[in-house]
């Protein structure tokens, strides 16, 4: 009985690992392998190509043909480093703005009357019901020189000539903030809503004005939510392709675009794969550090 249950338990516990292995680890290994190959005018466009039909020994024999040429290429060309740094900068700025917009929203939701909260939660994720692509396109009509925003500002007399927002880095930041807002709002909402209300009362009782109570109690206690939200926005933002491609200018440099160019314009799959692998490594390092600090905090 107990042996059978432990087998069932192992199955349940194993399911996520199997999922990760099939849909993350194996594709990742394929990408790593391609990054170690050489570009070629062939189908697939790189060598060596492993084919299970060739048999095990032939595949092992070809391992010697792998090289780090693609990575050397990344290191040699300053453009790649620039793209990484630029992506990092854009992602950081966007994450900061997303946090600034999301916190008041999450706060208002968490403090709303209890019966309204489910409705507000649904509203917060409602944009997901329409296509991401269409929503980003919609921002073009808002942000361009003769767009809705400029028309509104002009007719209000706030500006005398149109603002050039569309096709700038600013437009990309706006697009990222808009698109990833729910990923920030939800963990923040969660972190704020679960704080016992008597903590704020206790702070007020001990002489803290509402502002002081907010900064000394509410914000520190939503720390885990802030961190989770920032990671959820920062990580996808750094590799974002669609938003910079649609809203950004020709000089907007982001790693997602570099990747696209390598894959589809240059058909240099090894270089593109190397770009992806390095990006992943850059993201894994801060996350691992974060995990470790969490662990250290959990067991003092």
């Amino acid at each position: 009985m107990s042996a059978r249950r432990s087998a069932a338990e192992r199955l349940v516990l194993g399911a996520p690992w199997a999922w990760l292995a099939v849909f993350f680890l194996i594709p990742f290994l394929i990408v790593v392998k391609i990054s170690l190959s050489q570009a070629a005018l062939a189908q697939p466009p790189y060598t060596p190509a492993f084919d299970l039909a060739d048999g095990w020994e032939a595949m092992v024999g070809r391992l010697g043909e792998l090289s780090f040429a693609a990575y050397a290429g990344l290191a040699e060309d300053w453009l790649y480093a620039q793209a990484y740094l630029s992506s990092l900068r854009m992602a950081l700025i966007s994450t900061a703005f997303t946090l600034a917009v999301a916190y008041p929203m999450a706060y208002a939701m968490a403090r709303a009357p209890e019966h309204l909260r489910p409705v507000l939660l649904v509203l917060a994720i409602a944009p997901f019901w329409t296509s991401f692509l269409i929503r980003v396109y919609a921002w073009i009509t808002i942000l361009k020189d003769e767009g809705l925003l400029n028309q509104a500002l002009l007719s209000l007399g706030l500006i005398s000539e149109p603002l050039h927002i569309f096709a700038t880095d600013g437009a990309v930041v706006i697009g990222i903030v808009y698109s990833y807002l729910p990923f920030m709002v939800l963990p923040l909402y969660n972190a704020i809503a679960r704080q016992p209300p008597e903590l704020r009362e206790a702070a007020a009782d001990l002489g803290a004005s509402p502002t002081a109570a907010f900064w000394r109690i509410t914000v520190p206690l939503s720390g885990p939510g802030i961190l989770a939200g920032c990671l959820l926005v920062f990580i996808p933002a750094i590799g974002e392709f669609v938003i910079p491609d649609l809203l950004g200018g020709s000089d907007t440099l982001m790693i997602g675009r570099t990747l696209w160019v390598e894959f589809f314009d240059n058909r240099d799959w090894p270089a593109a794969s190397a770009v992806a692998v390095v990006l992943l490594a850059l993201l894994v390092v801060p996350m691992a550090l974060y995990e470790r600090s969490q662990m250290a905090e959990a067991q003092p």
Binding site: E201, D205, A208
Partner: protein, 356 residues
């Protein structure tokens, strides 16, 4: 009460929708007093306390602290501090920072805060635990931190919301005496909110018994126990036997009450209107066990239980109510066995006349 009261309630009413939580309450609490609000859950005692702290605002009436109207005074500006039932310790701060929170808000210099915090840690016997986080403390230690935090700003009144509810029985008793010691030493006013009559009786100098938003009786513990003003108070504070009857005759400060169903005229100290329906309240330890077998109310002992310091019994009276008996110390041995036929009577000075 001497001099000006610390807290004054003037006809205060607080409603939540259709529910009146506090109903036209007027009350004065003196400076340095240990005061208890006692009542069952939902009686309005917590609301009354939250009105003082400023977390609720009255719908009608005024609340004065030190003679100043608190109508526009937010919680953080009031000279009272509260110890929350859940303790409400800040989980991200260590013990010292929790206790010092109110002092930091008051803008006190750092070294003064440190001195005061270590003084408070000593006061509540938590020396050396200043660097612990709340989740590294036992329930009793957390309670002490909450108390120290509420005392830190030297408030005029400390509000204690069910302070002992989360402690086990033994710790609860120790803590009761600890709170009384602190209150005596500091001279700060304490207001205890509790549903536990023992807590209120042991600790408070005065008790307000609350029911349905109103103060049913206000007085010293002894007065409330021995001279309850109503059936509710008599039943809520301690155990009580209630006999319904009608006043048949009043003679020289003694009322003669005909008990319903019992063919007996009972003399009771106190005066009522002839013909009035009343209830006699008699504490179990005051019921008299007749030794002669031809006087008193006949009954049978249903059960008899040994409780260490007391022996208690329930007696079913013939044609009458079920009556509780209690005997203490050496008298406990005199308690009749289960099944014994006994006769009980009500000593004239033991019964209290209540409106029926």
């Amino acid at each position: 009460m001497s001099a000006a009261p610390l807290i004054t309630f003037e006809h205060v009413t607080k409603r939540y929708g259709a529910v009146t939580a506090v109903d036209d309450v007027s009350l004065e609490i003196g400076a340095g007093e240990f005061f208890a609000l006692l009542g069952p859950s939902g009686c309005g005692k917590t609301t009354l306390m939250r009105l003082i702290a400023g977390f609720e605002t009255p719908d009608a009436g005024r609340i004065l602290i030190d003679g100043r109207d608190m109508a526009d005074m937010p919680p953080h500006a009031r000279p009272v501090n509260m110890m929350f039932q859940s303790y409400a310790l800040f989980p991200h701060m260590d013990v010292a920072r929790n206790i010092g929170f109110g002092l930091v808000q008051a803008g006190q210099p750092k070294h003064e805060i440190e001195t005061r915090v270590s003084e408070l840690l000593r006061l509540v016997q938590l020396e050396g635990l200043g660097a612990r986080k709340p989740d590294q403390l036992s329930g009793g230690q957390r309670q002490r931190v909450a108390l120290a935090r509420a005392l830190a700003r030297k408030p005029r009144l400390v509000l204690l919301d069910e302070p002992l509810a989360a402690l086990d029985r033994k710790l609860r008793e120790e803590t009761q005496f600890e709170l009384m010691r602190l209150q005596r030493e500091l001279g700060t006013g304490f207001m205890l909110v509790t549903h536990d009559q023992d807590e209120a009786m042991v600790m408070a100098q005065r008790i307000a018994v609350m029911r349905a938003g109103r103060i049913e009786q206000l007085g010293a513990p002894r007065a409330i126990y021995e001279e309850p003003a109503s059936r509710f108070v008599a039943g809520f504070i301690g155990e009580v036997n209630l006999f319904d009857g009608v006043i048949e005759r009043v003679d020289g400060g003694v009322s003669f009450v005909r008990l319903n169903g019992l063919d007996v005229l009972t003399p009771v100290a106190g005066v009522g209107a002839v013909g009035e329906s009343v209830t006699l309240a008699v504490r179990p330890e005051r019921m008299f066990l007749e030794l002669m077998h031809d006087e008193g109310l006949p009954g049978v002992v249903l059960d008899s239980a040994y409780r260490g310091d007391t022996q208690v019994a329930r007696v079913q009276l013939e044609n009458g109510p079920l009556v509780r008996l209690a005997r203490f110390g050496a008298d406990a041995a005199l308690m009749p066995e289960r099944g014994a036929k006994v006769r009980l009577s009500i000593p004239p000075d033991a019964a209290r006349i209540l409106p029926a």
